[in-house]
């Protein structure tokens, strides 16, 4: 309604001096926040800093005790979230507010169902189609589908469409990427970009700093309910500065001692999983982990990582595969079996799989003990000393913790207690699924330190994580799972996030690549391969050998020093011309592969045996570049 010039001058939303107490906890202490139309504004802070409360004040879910919120220059006083929706403010939360039994269409227009009068469904269907189209997802999410069957990303899309259906001009995204895969995150950022172009003001609440840098224009940081950094240009900040403002102190390396990446060959193999099969998601997964080692299981959401570790632990039926602990075969049918064999397991979802809300912190701490305990009594007394010691070591205040409700503590503290639950049993093997999901960065680093310390005592640690940076930072070795198959097993020192992303890509997205390699190999009677080359090591992502004589000496998933291959000369020179090996048996051409965004995606190579007719290196280069355009 305002002239564009006025929009620029007056912020879309201006909150000043907002305070809110919950019981005795001060959630917000005179916090301030400013949002302009046409920007994505990051709202950051450690857990408990007040981000969620401030978001909920803006969206009308929470009424502040004091302070002023101006929206388009007018004071906001909501009696309900309906009031907020009416003026055009919507919130997209982690747990969506959709009704699972209704269709996509009904959910998008749910707020209209509460109004008196008749609704024209054909008109709604048209409008719903338009909304999804404006988000670039027409036809991808069927309007008639029940929301229950949608993926997390699709549900979020419906939620956004719902906000737009109400004409929302201010949308708060509260941790929207927590359960999305990297490609889904990318798509979400696209949508956020469109909304920004359309003049919406977007608030982006997230723990993931790299996403903050990727998508926000300005950031505001809260700490202990106060605004400690107000509306700074994101580009003017470094990651270290952000972290410092969030935790209020200089953090050293987040990842304990920077020990990740050390290959450990000395420890005994503690857990060996071979050809694990647990339909429908886990098709063939193998990995092993040594005592004292931290193994990361990487992959995209839905690749079958969580399902694989749940099957190992006995939470999920297993159809095939062998599990060996300390070299002995073990038949695990239920969690009790694996616990007695020395496995501890921190499940992925803290609230639904780990916390028993009606029990005290102390009993939650003792829950796995109760599971492992044989006998009629509870056997708590025997663990008293160990509980005490553990609490002290974790820096948990014993007197406050023992009788309190778990849910009153921050996500990080809850996670520490759940991990401690398993440490109490002194496991040989500790498996953690997304150990830092929803945990603020300060607590995260202390969890990493804790895991490293556990490993150093000789425990074999397995971590499943969707956060590739975390996975590489904390683990010694990474096994990549894609489409239910373990596709690579590499020291993390050899990897970075880009390479991990390539390895984790669904095998189906490799179809074009495989086709190219096969064509190259077939047409010229040699071997085609796609590999990452780092200094003097090579990781083969895909290989197709048509002629045995051309075999370059590595296969898909292999990682080895260049000198151990049969084409060391060509791999060392890395040139887009045919390079013959000193022994004269093979000639190889290498072409760099770059994504449309310019990321290094390794090299495509063609190796031909001695005496074969050499095709034009330029022609091969053209074909590889044509492929990279399609990636």
């Amino acid at each position: 309604m305002n002239a564009p010039g006025a929009e620029q001058a007056a912020p879309l939303l201006l909150a000043t001096g907002v305070s809110k107490m919950f019981d005795r906890t001060r959630a917000l202490n005179a916090a301030g926040f400013e949002l302009r139309a046409g920007e994505v504004h990051g709202l950051l802070g450690a857990n408990g800093a007040g981000k969620s409360t401030l978001s909920k004040v803006i969206s009308g879910h929470v009424v502040p005790d004091s302070g002023e919120v101006l929206y388009r220059g007018l004071p906001l006083r909501f009696r309900s979230t309906r009031d907020a929706l009416a003026v055009g403010i919507a919130i997209v939360m982690q747990e969506t507010s959709l009704v699972p039994d209704l269709t996509v269409l009904e959910n998008i227009f749910l707020p209209l169902l509460g109004k008196p009068g008749r609704l024209s469904f054909p008109a709604l269907r048209r409008r719903g189609g338009e909304l999804l189209a404006s988000l670039g997802h027409e036809g991808i999410v069927p309007l008639e589908a029940e929301v229950r069957g949608l993926s997390a990303a699709q549900k979020q899309l419906v939620e956004i469409a719902k906000a737009l259906g109400l004409g929302a001009k201010l949308i708060i995204f509260d941790e929207p990427t927590a359960s999305l895969s990297p490609s889904e995150v990318e798509r979400l950022f696209d949508i956020m970009g469109r909304l920004r172009e359309d003049g919406c003001g977007l608030v982006f609440v997230s723990h993931r700093l790299e996403e903050v840098f990727a998508v926000t224009d300005r950031v505001t940081i809260l700490r202990e309910g106060r605004t400690v950094l107000a509306s700074r240009e994101t580009a003017s900040l470094s990651q270290a500065e952000l972290i410092r403002h969030m935790v209020g102190q200089e953090l050293g390396a987040i990842y304990a001692g920077g020990l990740g990446g050390t290959e450990r060959r000395e420890g005994r193999v503690a857990l060996e999983v071979e050809a694990l099969e647990a339909p429908p998601l886990v098709r063939n997964v193998s990995f092993s982990v040594r005592r004292g080692e931290i193994l990361g299981l990487g992959g995209l959401v839905g690749a079958g990582r969580s399902e694989a570790v749940e099957a190992v632990f006995g939470l999920r039926p297993r159809r095939g595969g062998r599990i060996r602990i300390d070299g002995r075969d073990i038949d695990i049918r239920k969690p009790g079996d694996s616990i007695r064999a020395g496995i501890g397991f921190v499940a992925e979802d803290r609230r639904s799989q780990n916390i028993v809300p009606d029990m005290s912190v102390k009993e939650n701490l003792l829950l796995a003990h109760l599971g492992a305990h044989r006998g009629f009594g509870r056997g708590y007394a025997a663990r008293e000393a160990a509980v005490e010691r553990l609490l002290q070591k974790l820096g948990l205040p014993a007197d406050r913790l023992l009788d309190a409700n778990m849910l009153n503590f921050s996500g990080g503290m809850q996670q520490k207690i759940i991990i401690a639950r398993w440490l109490l049993l002194e496991p040989k093997i500790l498996i953690l699924d997304e150990p830092t999901k929803g945990v603020d960065i300060g607590t995260r680093s202390s969890i990493y330190g804790m895991l490293r310390e556990v490993a150093e005592k000789g425990v074999a640690v397995v971590i499943v994580s969707s956060d590739f940076e975390e996975l590489l930072g904390v683990s010694d070795r990474v096994v990549v799972i894609s489409d239910g198959l373990s596709v690579a097993d590499l020291p993390s020192a050899l990897l970075d996030e880009e390479k991990l992303t390539l390895l984790a890509a669904p095998r189906t997205s490799m179809a074009k690549n495989t086709e190219l390699l096969r064509d190259l190999a077939d047409q010229s009677g040699g071997a085609g391969f796609w590999a990452l080359i780092e200094k003097d090591r090579l990781i083969c992502l895909n290989a197709f050998v048509a002629t045995g004589a051309a075999d370059p000496g590595f296969a898909t998933g292999d990682a080895k020093p260049i000198s151990d291959t049969r084409i060391p000369g060509a791999l060392a020179r890395r040139e887009s011309i045919f390079v013959s090996e000193p022994d004269g048996k093979r000639a190889t051409v290498l072409v760099p592969l770059r994504s449309p965004r310019g990321h290094d995606m390794g090299w495509v190579g063609l190796t031909l045996p001695d005496g074969a007719a050499l095709p034009s290196a330029e022609a091969i280069k053209d074909r590889v570049q044509a492929l990279s355009g399609a990636l």
Binding site: N354, V356, D358, A368, G371, F376, G377, D399
Partner: protein, 323 residues
């Protein structure tokens, strides 16, 4: 350690006012005082023993109901299981000795509970529906087995189960006290008891921690069925008669007592102490209304109103105190 001397005073007081059992005990006291003002007979020694005596049958059933509700389930079949096992007890007595007949009735009750428990916990059927079905079947079998008539050929020495006095306390009241002590100790201090709480509060977490979820989700129904048979045994011992309608409405009294005692119907929250207080509140009100000569037809309205008001007040108070 150093501040441990300062902390407890505040936290004890805090937890006292926060404890639902304490608040319900206060409510029970208020009701007792009110009724004693309304009726001079209410607080006499003989009437107090009356109240305790009337608490026995419903109190026994409420123990099993507490176990079931703690797991997040419900057992609507206790009334008809009591009726059916009572009839079976009467029939068995024509062939076997009293202790054996009682044993058979209890085993039958436990067996029916086992069936419900397996349907609920293993096959994942809704407890409400399963026990509703068992309730109908049980009542129907009670009619069929009894030939639609009351059985009253019980030996008169059976009443010694109820009326033997131990140190001045009737044996049935003593049994109730011991039962509550055992149930309380089981729920508080054993692996099984804690598992029942954990299963009711978060079944997935209990499973992931290696607890035997299936067994301890079935067990409460077995306990409930067995205790329904025990309860009807005490009832028969007093009346020396059983008819196929016996136990009707018992499930509602038991559920009401458990809920008044602070248990959550979603499971995970509740206690034997709370249930005992709930039973006493129910029985006191009924007893007081009888003393005042209120028509039995009005008593249902009075009890229903008091239950709802009590829960409403509790909800308002606990919202203020904070959980």
């Amino acid at each position: 350690m150093t501040n441990s001397s300062a902390m407890p005073a505040r936290s004890t007081l805090g937890s006292l006012s926060k404890s639902l059992e304490i608040r319900m005990l206060l409510l029970a006291a208020v009701i007792a005082v009110a009724l004693s003002l309304l009726s001079p007979y209410f607080l006499t020694r003989s009437n107090i023993f009356n109240i305790l005596d009337q608490s026995v049958v419903i109190g026994i059933v409420a123990v099993g109901m507490t176990f079931v509700i703690l797991t997040g389930g419900i057992d609507l079949s206790v009334g008809s299981v009591a009726g059916l096992t009572g009839i079976l007890l009467g029939l068995a007595l024509q062939h076997v000795a009293l202790p054996v007949a009682i044993g058979l009735a209890i085993v039958a009750g436990a067996g029916i509970g086992l069936l419900s428990g397996i349907l609920v916990a293993y096959f994942g059927l809704a407890a409400f529906v399963v026990t509703l079905g068992v309730m109908a079947i049980g009542r129907s079998l009670a009619y069929i087995f009894s030939g639609q008539t009351a059985i009253s050929n019980f030996p008169s020495d059976m009443s010694s189960i109820v009326y033997t006095s131990v140190f001045g306390v009737p044996s049935n009241v003593l049994f109730l006290v011991v039962l509550y002590l055992v149930a309380w100790a089981y729920l508080s201090f054993t692996k099984g008891g804690r598992t029942i709480y954990a299963v009711g509060s978060n079944k997935e977490a209990a499973r992931a921690a290696g607890l035997n979820v299936l067994f301890y989700a079935v067990l409460p129904y077995v306990v409930s069925g067995a205790l329904a048979a025990v309860a009807i045994t005490f009832s028969i011992s007093q009346l020396l008669s059983i008819d196929p309608l016996a136990g009707q409405g018992m499930e509602l009294d038991a559920i009401a007592a458990v809920v008044i005692g602070g248990a959550s119907l979603f499971g995970g929250r509740g206690s034997m102490i709370g249930t005992l207080i709930g039973v006493l509140i129910m029985v006191m009100i009924r007893n007081g209304l009888n003393l005042m000569g209120v028509s039995p037809f009005w008593q249902g309205s009075a009890i229903g109103t008091i239950i709802i008001v009590a829960l409403l007040v509790e909800r308002l108070v606990s919202a203020r105190v904070g959980r």
